[in-house]
Symmetry: C5
């Protein structure tokens, strides 16, 4: 997530440099063509690029709006994960009559730490990084061994939750109502995981990007031909300026579309997982509560 | 689902060729008309096609946005199917006290395999393909015989689920709370199936497409008349370029509207069903887990 | 629901004929006025109708989009009715321990047939047709007599459902959990009915239609005055073409707004009710399953 | 709610008269200024008001769309109130084993009548009218005395519902499951009440209205200056026509924003409450069912 | 929340003064540049700023609409908090059989006062103010001591709720169904808290603001160059007027985006918390009910 500070120039520049260069060459070529073929090229009325500019704006407005929705949905999913992680621990603490009498693998601490591990692991998995990273801090040896055999690590962790809830019920630490209520929370966690995976795995319709580019180039060509006789070489910076803003807009939208791609515009899943760790450990009365994750220069991961 | 790769030229071309040809003839005819009837035709001010271009853009923006919503809703439904399939198996594993003691037709494996079969069968049925395809891999003989008699195969599979849950309850393998909780999951599956069928069976208001075409042709005619004296035969490629982008946009939106039509832009139901199969078999501890479905050249089914 | 086929010309024509005639007279009158009062009327710059055209487009885009939402919500409500009808029967079959021992008025078939009757009756009531039409096929004499006395027939049918569920519980055919779970399904059916009635009874803000017309006429007047010196009698077909598309658009939106009005653009409630009948009868193992409702020439009811 | 009939001219006129007068003076003043200062004022190109007109349209489109959403949400809330009122009575009738044996203050009729009272009272309270109006028809003396002491009458009525449910449970007229199910319905009623109050008490961001006015006046000034040399005194009716439609649009949106303000554009809460009364009394088998509320000339309250 | 009254000029002025000054200098510099370099600068056609103006409008429309959604969602969250606070107290009063027999730390008053404290504390925490402010009025000493040790005070208060519910169940003041039903309410409160925190902590994509500024300046430059020969020094107030409205619009949207920032445009969390206090105390029959919070001159906090 980009922070509300001044973005470093290099961050913006790195993004738009290829586009600036490409548009620069296009406008220079147009300029040269016009000098040598002045009498053969048509004088296009400026209403045409105006219409095309309107179409680009509407297409980009659609893209911006849908990609914002994906980004905001991703953030909502992780908000729901925060809420349900807290809820899970509050519920276990409310429901389990005598937590002290449980063996360590069924303790309230075990499910809490596994929930923290699930958050970190899901964040890593969504970003295509190692989903086992740092999990040994929160999981026991047998748990680590169990999830090693699964392709989908977070799902395996939910399976361990399910198993613990089953055993708590069989030992009568919770009753049937409470088992079902805890299962409800787990259904929501499973749902949140699936929604994040859906956003990750669904490609935004590729054709729209193609169409945006088609429109932008058509706009540039007609605009360039429309300006043939009026402004001469001033056309180059002008085309450059306008085209660059459109490309930048398209690119910003494209980045927001994929909020789990290990980029500064990502949903800050690591920061959120750390905050969940802090909340849950404080609910447990744990003494080793870590500090919140420090932000990078202009973004949070 | 189209992948985030370069689309093959032939895929794009196949789509727009008829449109290109039609628009080509239209503009040539206009061109000829103008040469022979130059003094009789009016010089239409270019503001008119500008207004019409704006109306086309807004109408297309509406169409793009609604068809994206249908496509995204279809994807959400299949995300929900993924989540509830996982949830169903997690729940059965949590609730059934002693799975080993059950007869094979009531076993956890039976409901899991039937759930996998349901996903494949629903995907096929939505695409209008054979809903029994490959089901013998997952279902027993009596189950296959039972669903053979139903018009709606996935509904018949849900009926078998319902029957198994009833018998698990009657044998006291699950209690009344757990029966109701499993029933909740089945309600959600039934709901997801119905939502996918609704998207499949509801035709997007036909009149809007008619209107888009009407506007595009009105736009082309006024534009062509408006350019009468300025750009001569250059009009042909210009009209071609602009009209083609509008038609392409309309066509892209139309494809997204119907995400279960056995086309590359479909919701990738087969891929999702395969992923569900992998997840569920790993939860069962099954040894024969298949590989994920390989993608086609530029899309996934 | 209009089908995805070529709409018959007469269907489109019947709709737009009055508008075509009205606009024709308007433009002819303008034409005559201009010939006799040429020196007295102002030459309005074409930017003015351009601005007005933009406003019309945005207002129409709003109207199209909201009426589509109403239409889509109506379709969603009927999708939910399909799902909950199936769910109700699946649940009754799962929950009732021994269906055979029940008296016929409490049998699974009784509630299933009453649910089918409810779907047909709700569809008829929404369209303002006789809500008792054909119900004698599905209901017993005492049931028919009971609902006769109610103003809202579908609500009376739900009351009969409620009564059957109460008696099933009192005879211990279902337990308390199952009663509550069935009640949940009934809450959803009651909700769907209320949502459909809300769409039916809520008039889309009338002022907006007025405003659209005001804008269209203002647009036509300024455009007509703006074209005074350029295109002469060609103005008539031009105004006709543009105005007609705007009126058509407004009219299409208006039709979609009211999806229970016994028109070809209606939500196809009869078709859906018939499909529910087929599904439910097959779940019962009934032998007399009817065929799906045949479509009309270009639409489904 | 405005009906789908011809709105009386005086209703429309009363609304726009002040605006018409104000715009009339503005355009006359501009006209005079131009006659005396013709050489000193700049000739503004008409592209400027075009851009401003586009901005106004987009701002108004936003306002129209958000105010429609508020209005539609208000209608949805009252739709939900209809559904949950019906559901409450159906549930009480299903759950309470032997209604006849209850004392009158705990009878099914008592909760039904109190629910009707709640609907009327909430409607009055939202409109800022007397929330006790006519309640003596539905409530007993002690109930009237109890709610007299509360600032929020509908909340006090829900409290009486809660109390009745508690006593029904203590007398074992309902069991624990049924108590919780009835409580669910009450949670939804409490939720609907809060949502209506939220719409009532939240002021739409005031700055946007300011901005719309700023844009409209800027538009009028630049347009007036842009037309300096072309159309002379015809400018007055032209400005009048265009400005009036914009003001009308803004005003329509503003009215829809506040659907509980005792105006013809209100959500028809009294009509809905009366329909609920009819439905609930028919479910009770009551003999004194009132007629539906008659509509006013062009609206329903 | 800004009230529906005339905003004081100084409030609007304070906001836009820096922008007015900056745009003033920009236009003066352009004016001077043009006087000294008149022959070297190009005459840009006015269609260009028109296209850019359209793009600005669409980008601003997107920003306005998304920031309104955030603001409205924040208001909805606090509406839900109102509803669930009322629900919690109604439920406790319904469920707890004999409130009088409870020790004071488990009394209905204790949970009610803690719920009031939670509302105030959450409001303060969201605004970055002291979350312990005034809590001693509602909480006992041990409760104050307990939450002192937590980073997230409202979460600690929910933990105390959870603990009280656990002890009510262990003392058999509520049964298992009722415990689960109360837990449901607590899940919703935890959810509302998390949703408010999400809105607070998620920065709106920074790049879009950059882009809006880029477009506005590009628009101003091309517009200024386009007006070179027509209107002379009149350009300064004209640019000033147009740019100011765009900046004002962007700024209004930016303020709405962050509804928990201790500004007059905030969601009025203190007012809402006070209203909840009044409602809950009246439900308890408390005698010391405070008055509603008085509004500030033109806003409510």
């Amino acid at each position: 997530m980009l922070l509300d500070t001044r973005l470093p120039v290099r961050y913006i520049f790195r993004d738009i440099l290829p586009d600036i260069i490409r548009v620069f060459f296009i406008s220079v070529i147009f300029q040269l063509l016009k000098q040598f073929l002045a009498q053969d090229i048509p004088l296009i009325p400026l209403q045409l690029p105006t219409v095309l500019g309107g179409s680009i704006s509407l297409l980009l407005a659609f893209k911006i709006s849908q990609s914002y929705d994906r980004w905001w949905e991703a953030r909502k999913v992780w908000g729901a994960i925060t809420n349900d992680s807290r809820t899970l621990v509050l519920q276990v603490r409310t429901f389990v009559a005598d937590g002290a009498a449980l063996p360590s693998e069924l303790s309230i601490q075990a499910i809490t730490y596994r929930q923290i591990a699930w958050c970190y692991s899901l964040g890593q998995a969504l970003r295509g990084l190692d989903p086992m990273h740092c999990l040994d801090e929160f999981l026991s040896e047998p748990e680590l061994a169990y999830i090693q055999g699964h392709a989908n690590k977070p799902l395996a962790l939910l399976d361990l939750h399910a198993n613990q809830i089953k055993q708590l019920y069989q030992r009568e630490a919770i009753n049937s109502f409470q088992q079902v209520q805890l299962d409800d929370t787990q259904v929501r966690l499973c749902d949140a995981m699936g929604r994040a995976e859906r956003i990750k795995s669904t490609v935004f319709p590729t054709s729209y990007r193609l169409m945006v580019y088609l429109f932008i180039y058509l706009f540039l060509i007609t605009l360039s031909l429309g300006l043939v006789e009026t402004i001469g070489p001033w056309e180059v910076p002008l085309l450059l300026g306008i085209a660059t803003t459109y490309f930048l807009l398209e690119r910003t939208a494209r980045y927001l579309q994929d909020p789990f791609n290990n980029r500064p515009t990502d949903t800050p899943v690591t920061t959120i997982a750390r905050n969940i760790e802090i909340n849950l450990k404080q609910l447990l009365g744990d003494s080793k509560v870590p500090a919140p994750l420090a932000a990078e220069e202009y973004y949070r991961m």
